[in-house]
């Protein structure tokens, strides 16, 4: 379990995350939704120690995330950022191998190679593994970054908008993959999503943020409602029931 205790962050008097306290479960798929600028990425960056906190603590199964050795944290928690920096002249496989750093410090073991191969296959990259990252399309590159955090093989997987620039088929495949990881390997997946219908269909729990605060927190049945969504986004929503799923419409 990851316990967030009154996390706070502001940029020059502008309060971006406002005393958020939460418990992120040690299993299941948890989606974070909310409008642009709500503070979702800031929250995830603080939970994953990429960003220092102004106040509050993050406890990861008894480990103070901001005090513990970075490598300890990296063996339990992997983070995919909204935008990643690409090293020059690196191949897809080499990038995914860097995900093994917390375990191997760069000297890959047979277990590492197995994890890398599995991650590449899961992200449909087995055929592209020798390609340079700069020779890929935006969606292929995004999948390579996802494969890198998968290869890290952690209990907690934090993903900031992992569906960015993926086509419909690969987006759905990735959501199914995350669901499988959670169901079969007991991975706890926490992800920021803009497509609320992916959140609705694949999540166990949905956390909605607005103006740096958690304004809704519950099952898809509780959060994907016309009233709740209109409140979170400040715009009208329709929610339809299709084959047992709750599908929100916001196109008109």
């Amino acid at each position: 379990m990851i316990t967030l205790d009154s996390l706070t962050k502001s940029y020059d008097d502008h309060l971006v995350v406002d005393g958020v306290s939460l418990e992120l479960p040690s299993a299941g798929v948890t989606s974070i939704i909310g409008p642009n600028g709500a503070g979702k990425s800031t929250l995830l960056s603080m939970v994953s120690r990429l960003l220092g906190v102004d106040a509050g603590t993050v406890d990861l199964d008894g480990l103070d995330v901001h005090r513990a050795p970075s490598r300890e944290v990296a063996r339990r928690l992997a983070i995919l950022r909204q935008d990643s920096h690409t090293p020059a002249r690196i191949t897809v496989r080499e990038l995914v191998e860097l995900g093994r750093h917390p375990h191997s410090k760069g000297r890959l073991t047979p277990a590492c190679h197995a994890a890398v191969d599995a991650a590449l296959a899961r992200c449909d990259l087995a055929d592209l593994d020798r390609r340079g990252l700069h020779e890929l399309s935006g969606g292929q590159r995004q999948r390579a970054y996802v494969a890198m955090v998968l290869a890290q093989d952690t209990r907690y997987l934090l993903l900031d908008e992992p569906l960015n620039s993926l086509d419909l088929v690969h987006a759905t495949a990735l959501m199914q993959l995350l669901r499988t990881l959670s169901d079969e390997h007991g991975t706890s997946v926490v992800l920021v999503l803009h497509d609320i219908n992916y959140a609705s269909v694949h999540s166990d729990r949905i956390i909605a943020m607005r103006d740096g605060r958690v304004v809704r927190d519950g099952t898809p049945e509780e959060v994907i409602t016309e009233e709740a969504l209109s409140d979170v986004y400040g715009a009208p929503f329709r929610v339809h029931h299709l084959d047992g799923d709750r599908i929100a419409a916001y196109y008109r």
């Binding site: 120690r49 970075s70 992997a78 920096h85 090293p87 020059a88 690196i90 750093h101 410090k105």
Partner: protein
């Protein structure tokens, strides 16, 4: 990769043989020791500058920036000027070479660490902020040195000028030995952290994400760079643009992001370029001690070409 390394190693050996034997008529016992010293200086300084540049470029996430370009050379001039100015020409000349070298290097080391920290921060500033900070620092140092040149007495100025121009042919043997030991240790240190440098190329967030102690790694890398450039500059004077040339050539030759490969190949490229350049200069062009200016000419053109290419992106 193997073939590149093999070819470059052979080229280095060939160039070395050329430098050692070309045009020696008879007086081997006189020529050989002096030429061996020059060869050692070229190889050691080349390796140090190459390694320093590759590491520096990873920390700054840039293929254009080098310690020299980021104000290091003007800092060196300033430190040397301050030392001669404050001790006076007579004292500077009377000082044992090793003491002057140690003073020069020590002050440089401290000052360059401060400079790098001020200019680079933790490596998360954008290219333009970094370049701007480097240019401002460089200009500041140059203007202070320029002012001191004017108020300095002419004897001290002469001593200083002799100190400031890159020269591989007139190095004190003791200094060379001491410098070689320090530089070899620093180069070995860089190779020891090659895998961490690979991870550092992911950028701050990516590196922390896979468990790298980012702050410590950047500090360590910059300390190595500071040692490498301080000692090599104190030995032979500034060779601006050498690092830029050899690092970028090495990236092309290896085609990989791995630092193990890039460090090694950059070192070999530097050795070939310097040794061959010196041999040719001495015999074909019959110049002496102007290797630095030749490098600056070629490197300057490449630097401007790279800047133009980068700005068109």
């Amino acid at each position: 990769m193997r073939r590149v390394v093999l070819a470059l190693t052979l080229a280095t050996l060939g160039a070395a043989a050329l430098l050692l034997t070309w045009g020696v008529d008879g007086h081997w016992d006189f020529a050989l020791p002096r030429r061996l010293e020059t060869l050692a200086a070229l190889v050691i300084v080349g390796a140090a500058v190459a390694v320093a540049t590759v590491v520096f470029q990873t920390v700054t996430a840039s293929r254009i920036l080098t310690p020299s370009i980021m104000g290091f050379d003007s800092l060196y001039v300033l430190v040397a000027t301050l030392i001669v100015w404050s001790t006076g020409a007579a004292t500077a000349l009377a000082m044992p070479p090793l003491a002057l070298f140690a003073l020069n290097t020590g002050v440089m080391l401290g000052a360059s660490l401060l400079l790098f920290r001020a200019v680079i921060g933790d490596g998360t500033r954008g290219l333009y902020t970094t370049v701007l900070a480097g240019v401002i620092a460089g200009t500041l140092f140059s203007s202070i040195s320029g002012f001191l040149f004017r108020v300095m007495d002419p004897n001290a100025f002469d001593v200083l000028m002799a100190d400031l121009f890159a020269s591989f042919t007139s190095i004190d043997t003791t200094l060379l030995a001491v410098g070689a030991v320090v530089l070899t240790a620093a180069v070995a240190g860089a190779f020891a952290m090659a895998r961490r440098l690979d991870v550092l190329a992911l950028g701050r967030d990516g590196a922390i994400g896979v468990g790298l102690d980012h702050r410590r790694t950047v500090m360590l890398a910059m300390a190595l760079v500071a040692v490498l450039v301080s000692v090599s500059t104190a030995l032979v004077g500034p060779v601006t643009f050498l690092g830029l040339l050899v690092a970028n050539l090495a990236y092309r030759l290896t085609g990989t992001h791995r630092h193990g490969a890039n460090l090694l190949v950059a070192m070999l490229v530097a050795a070939v370029a310097l040794v061959l350049g010196q041999a040719l200069l001495q015999h074909v062009l019959a110049f002496n001690g102007t290797l630095g200016s030749l490098i600056s000419l070629v490197g300057g053109v490449v630097f401007i070409a790279m800047l133009i290419k980068e700005s068109r992106r």
